[in-house]
């Protein structure tokens, strides 16, 4: 059954379906909700697992390693948590123990940054773990199930990290097919511990001290086991496809089979790249393009990747890394790809450039891949290119020279010749048509804007649409302005994972956001788009004035959502009213069908919330909202507000309170 899940919840489903027997964890953003979900299931008795609330990630890793000696174990972590585990991680890989850690990839400070990039996974690159990079929540779920199969294979027996980009992966709500327990059980057999602890007949010692002779021989064996994982992962991905219908490869080749220009990357950012490949494919003056998404990052399938590039006759490869080289020639992925090409292809290997982007939650937008393909085309053309890594989205040091005024003059000496030799090729920069329906909600944290977007996503998925909701996180102090993006795929069969940043509908949950100088809610609105505001004090024309919109540019609708919620005794929870109002504007989803979904899922009080949705739908208007009736005056309240201290002395008040004891 397809349902709307966030990446973390999907990962939790992966652990649940794999029948994890021990799950020690220490919470850390952004992977917390995976562990929370598992703890909740265990508390509700839905999952038969020992959850250990340990005091640190170091202990979580120690506990997961020691439990993996006897049972199937897993945990989730991120960023510094993973780095704190590093000290014990190698005990797991060295002791040949299969277990799985789900990593919501996040930047590793300083400076502190909670958003996504791959620095944490790259930092543990050399700890002997098998590393899979998932591109979406569905793959995270499937990868965790496969991770146990790969890790527990008798020729491998090594621990696995399953990576998913923080927030854009772990917190995006998207359609996920959750396999049934029976399906997974037939794919993933029960855990067979080879050297269990506490076996009285066969006592064993883990982690003994070995001298150099045995140590090097042991490490040779360990390396061999890790090498075997390449073939096993490929086999397991194929079997997964045969049994559960979704086939996975060690790397995905998306686009032209004879691609001259290739962008290589890992993880969730491939969604935007795929959109650009299908957009630019077949344009005049554009050769074959492809995205090479590496799924099995460690052990790196070097020979297979080199062969695939050779078969395609690739001339230029641009590698996008969401991490730093830290003094290496290239960041980790580019370094691996470059050495793979050098080792298995040799002198005729394609030109390879490295690009650093997406650091600390930086957006990787579709336009970026247009620039990268342009760069690749220039490289294939034989033009000089930068051997050091380039950077995305840094105006002072651009990849292609567009605005010379912003460039740091210091860099002219180093890169000036390269910039001048790298033309901007117009065919690569054709504007991306935005054919999907995109919605952006602006609200203040605590108003439930994200909740209503999640409900909207669920209803859309129930109606058979491909809907993604990507909330923003980080500034969610109560009252801060937050936004959440939703895309409803209206065309094409390929499942999009691309937000163009141009919306058909902008919902503003709080009319004070219209006055906020640091927010321009209408700046991404498509021509002919709609603005929907929760207000009972501004007319649509006034809203238009506040946002500097011409009447032809956008239609403006208002709904007195807060007032409706108050009238329905919902207090300040007006997000369900806004949900109904969104349905009024969005033409794609059938409102009656959605109401059936909401009838099953809205929070308590159910009737009032359903009525709120209905009234929101009905009372959305492009005309002025009737002024609210003033509430009848409350005598007690009046008296309270009109009381002045000089009216009676404190002693008198105390005496009076004694005279009239309460109750």
């Amino acid at each position: 059954m397809r349902r709307s899940l966030a990446g973390n919840t999907a990962a939790a489903w992966g652990f649940r379906l794999s029948r994890v027997q021990c799950y020690p964890y220490y919470p850390i953003t952004p992977s917390t909700s995976c562990s929370e979900q598992i703890a909740a299931w265990v508390a509700d008795g839905e999952m038969d697992t020992v959850v250990i609330n340990v005091e640190s990630e170091h202990s979580a890793a120690s506990a997961v390693i020691s439990s993996a000696k006897s049972v199937r174990a897993g945990t989730a972590t991120s960023s510094k948590g993973l780095l704190y585990m590093v000290e014990v991680l190698e005990n797991g890989s060295g002791a040949s123990l299969p277990f799985t850690i789900f990593v919501g990839n996040r930047a590793t400070g300083a400076p502190i940054n909670i958003w996504g990039d791959n620095s944490d996974a790259y930092a543990v690159r050399d700890s002997g773990f098998i590393q899979l990079f998932a591109a979406d929540a569905q793959e995270a779920l499937d990868d965790i199930i496969q991770a146990y199969r790969i890790g527990e294979d008798l020729t491998v027996r090594q621990p696995v990290l399953v990576n998913l980009r923080g927030f854009t992966g772990t917190h995006t709500f998207e359609p996920v097919e959750v396999p049934t327990a029976a399906e997974v059980d037939s794919f993933l057999p029960a855990y067979l511990p080879l050297e269990p602890l506490f076996a009285p007949d066969r006592p064993v010692t883990y982690g003994p001290m070995l001298s150099a002779h045995y140590y090097r021989r042991h490490k040779r064996n360990q390396t061999e086991a890790l090498r075997n994982a390449t073939g096993v992962a490929e086999k397991v991905g194929r079997e997964f496809g045969e049994q559960l219908g979704r086939t996975y490869r060690n790397f995905e080749w998306i686009g032209d089979q004879r691609a001259e220009l290739v962008i290589a990357l890992v993880g969730e950012s491939s969604g935007a790249a795929e959109t650009i490949v299908s957009h630019l494919q077949g344009q005049r003056g554009v050769p074959g393009l492809a995205v090479l998404r590496i799924r099995l990052f460690n052990p790196f399938p070097a020979e297979a990747v080199a062969r695939a590039l050779f078969r395609a006759g690739t001339k230029a490869v641009v590698v996008l890394d969401e991490g730093l080289p830290h003094g290496d020639v290239f960041p980790p992925l580019a370094a691996r790809l470059a050495s793979a090409l050098q080792a298995y292809w040799g002198t005729e290997a394609p030109r390879l450039a490295s690009v650093i982007g997406g650091l600390g939650g930086s957006e990787i937008r579709p336009e970026h891949f247009q620039t990268l393909f342009n760069l690749a085309a220039n490289m294939a053309d034989g033009r000089p290119y930068r051997r050091e890594p380039c950077w995305l989205d840094i105006e002072e040091d651009p990849i292609l020279l567009t605005d010379a005024g912003k460039v740091n003059p210091k860099l002219w000496k180093r890169y000036g010749e390269i910039w001048k030799a790298q033309p901007v090729l117009p065919p690569y920069h054709l504007p991306l048509p935005s054919c999907n329906y995109e919605i952006r909600l602006y609200g203040r944290a605590g108003q439930g804007a994200i909740t209503s977007a999640v409900f909207f996503t669920g209803a859309g998925i129930e109606s058979g649409f491909w809907v993604l909701t990507k909330p923003t996180f980080g500034s969610e102090r109560r009252g801060a302005v937050v936004h959440s993006d939703t895309v409803i795929q209206s065309q094409g069969a390929a499942k999009t994972r691309c937000f163009t940043g141009r919306q058909d509908l902008v919902c503003i949950y709080d009319d004070t956001i219209l006055l906020s100088p640091s927010h321009a809610p209408a700046h991404g609105l498509k021509p002919g788009g709609t603005i929907l505001v929760n207000t009972d004090r501004y007319t649509p024309n006034r809203v238009r004035e506040l946002l500097n919109l011409a009447p032809s540019e956008a239609s403006v609708l208002v709904v007195p959502a807060s007032r409706i919620a108050r009238e329905l005794q919902l207090g300040s929870f007006f997000n369900m009213v806004m949900l109904g109002a969104m349905h009024r504007v969005c033409p794609l989803l059938d409102f009656d069908l959605a109401l059936q979904f909401y009838g099953k899922n809205v929070p308590l009080p159910k009737e009032a919330n359903l009525e709120a949705i209905r009234r929101g739908y009905l009372e959305t208007t492009d005309r002025e909202v009737a002024a609210p009736e003033p509430p009848p005056p409350d005598e007690q309240e009046e008296a309270f507000f009109h009381w002045r201290p000089e009216e009676e002395s404190l002693e008198f008040a105390m005496l009076r309170s004694l005279e009239n004891p309460r109750g």
């Binding site: 006897s70 060295g94 002791a95 040949s96 123990l97 294979d153 008798l154 020729t155 491998v156 027996r157 037939s186 057999p189 029960a190 067979l192 511990p193 080879l194 050297e195 269990p196 076996a199 009285p200 007949d201 066969r202 006592p203 064993v204 010692t205 883990y206 982690g207 003994p208 070995l210 045995y214 021989r217 042991h218 040779r220 064996n221 061999e224 086991a225 075997n228």
Partner: protein, 233 residues
């Protein structure tokens, strides 16, 4: 028939073919080949026989032609090797036996309720076979190394002077566990394991019966040089 603790299935071995079938349907326990085996193998819904990876032969005539298939396979039952997975698997034995079998070897795992979990052609992933996977040490199979090269003097205990169970101080203080009690009661005495003793003098210093000189060094009962070196006398 294969020995197995599987509750629902039993396994008939004919030549190099293994037929798993339900226990209830085993109507003719005496006959080695199930009568309907050829027919049912094709229609078996689970198709276990294919997954086993042994040569699949359709029809008894083929078996008659290929006499090589009638040779019995070498069978390793994990059930024999591990009564229960928690009690541990004799991993080196499985490894070594499968290594002997070569590419014909199969590991077939069935769940207790009779369902086929997986089979695989097994290959020992180790390059260096003298180190266990995961550097795990099997404590009961561990042979203690000979430490006699560490010491510069030979230590022994004179059983005549030793108090045995009454004292046993040297047994407790020995950092290498090299001293063991022998005998019982009044006739008991302590003994130093010559391969484990590293010659640290601790027992000699700690012995309560110094005047009896029950610990002999290089066969001598008293050595003034050693005494002065250790006690500064």
């Amino acid at each position: 028939m294969l020995p197995s603790s599987n509750q629902k299935k039993e396994f008939w071995v004919v030549g190099r073919l293994v037929f798993p079938r339900d226990k209830e349907s085993a109507a003719t326990p005496g006959s080695p080949v199930p009568e309907d085996s050829q027919g049912s193998r094709r229609s078996a819904p689970q198709g276990d026989h294919k997954l086993l990876g042994f040569p699949v032969i359709h029809g008894t005539k083929v078996i008659a032609r290929r006499t090589d298939l009638e040779e019995p396979p070498q069978i390793l039952s994990l059930d024999e090797l591990a009564g229960h997975a928690m009690e541990g698997l004799d991993y080196p034995t499985v490894m070594n036996a499968l290594a002997d079998l070569g590419p014909e070897g199969r590991v077939v795992l069935f769940s207790r309720n009779g369902k086929l979990l997986r089979w695989e052609t097994f290959e020992d992933p180790r390059i260096c076979k003298d180190v266990e996977r995961g550097a795990v040490i099997h404590n009961l199979e561990q042979k203690p190394p000979d430490m006699s090269g560490w010491r510069t003097h030979e230590f022994s205990i004179d059983p005549k002077g030793c108090l045995g169970t009454v004292c046993a101080r040297c047994v407790r203080v020995c950092p290498e566990n090299a001293i063991h009690l022998r005998g019982e009661g009044a006739s008991s005495f302590c003994e130093i394991d010559p391969t484990a003793c590293k010659g640290c003098f601790i027992c000699w210093v700690e012995c309560v019966r110094k005047s009896a000189d029950c610990i002999l060094i290089d066969g001598k009962v008293f050595d003034s040089e050693l005494r002065s070196a250790h006690f500064g006398e």
